[in-house]
Structure formats: structure tokens, C-alpha cells
Symmetry: C2
Subunit: 96 residues, 2 copies
């Protein structure tokens, strides 16, 4: 379990400019010579997650490929206790 979690190099994309996340992904690939990095986002940040993956593989880690992309729906409860659904994405980048 611990090993499995340790293997996952995950970057969560939020509302900062895309280059912040690009830098985070590139750093993750350099660290311990990681072979895979997962980029995750929800809601409107999904577009930014795709931008991040595209900039990383076109400009910085050109040997990285998209291994798989998964989409889903998550329930989020806000401060007022109301629940709504948001879409999510996971982009798996790998170096072969």
C-alpha cells in the first residue's frame, strides 16, 4: 500500500498559470528519475491540465507520451453544505 502510493507522482492542477504546473511536472520527472507522472484536475481546471500535459511533452520532456487519460465525476460539498457534481480528469504521462 505504502509502496503503491509512493510510486504515484501526482500533480494537482488548480487556478495558477499553466507554467507553474508545467514546472511541477518537469521537476517530478527529474526527481528520482520518475518514469510516470499523473496530472489531475477538476472542473474548469481540466482545460489547464490538458495545457500542462501538452506543454510538458511538446517543449520540456519530449520523450514523454500520454499513456492513458481517465475522466470521472466527483461529488463536492461546499461551505453551505450543498453537494454538486464536478467532472475530473487524470492524465498519465510516461517515459518509455
Amino acid at each position: 500500500m505504502t509502496d503503491e502510493l509512493a510510486d504515484e507522482n501526482v500533480i494537482y492542477v488548480g487556478n495558477k498559470p499553466p507554467m507553474s504546473y508545467v514546472l511541477a511536472v518537469v521537476t517530478e520527472f527529474k526527481k528520482d528519475d520518475a518514469k510516470d507522472v499523473v496530472i489531475k484536475a477538476r472542473g474548469r481546471a481540466i482545460s489547464r491540465a490538458v495545457d500542462t500535459a501538452e506543454i510538458v511533452r511538446n517543449r520540456f520532456v519530449t520523450e514523454a507520451k500520454v499513456d492513458k487519460i481517465e475522466i470521472g465525476t466527483e461529488s463536492v460539498t461546499n461551505d453551505e453544505g450543498r453537494t454538486h457534481n464536478v467532472s475530473s480528469i487524470e492524465i498519465h504521462l510516461v517515459i518509455e
Copy 2:
């Protein structure tokens, strides 16, 4: 060639509310009993494309599955002749 193009049921997601595109995808599935529909979007509409796919498969066409998702980068030239890159997504939904 013509057959191949005719086989592709494509919905382009833009800036309308997600339910417009959900309706378009559902209609496409009903039409000629289509077994696959492709949802395409660029830039900020990418999040809405994911919402569309998720709403379709969770609420309207529950037998539909995500077959594959592809991301890419496209060059867009604006009215002033300037070129910039935008990310794109293609979500392939299938009924097996």
C-alpha cells in the same frame, strides 16, 4: 474514404451551456442507432466537453463507455494574423 467520414459522428463543444451538447450527443446516438460518438473541443471548452461526456454516460446513455481520449495541440490564427497554440481533446464514446 467517404464511408470512413460518414462513420464519424462528431459533436463540437463550444461556449453554449453543457446541456445543449448533451442533447446533441444523445440525438446522435439515437440517429441510425449510432454505436460511437466523438466529442471534440479546444481551449477552455475542454472542461465542458468532459462535462458533456460525463452527463451523457451517467444520466442519458448509461450503456455508453469512454473508448479512448486523445489530447493534442492546434495552431490557431486570429483575425489579426497572430498565431497561437490551443490544446484540444477528443472523447470517443461507444456503445458495445
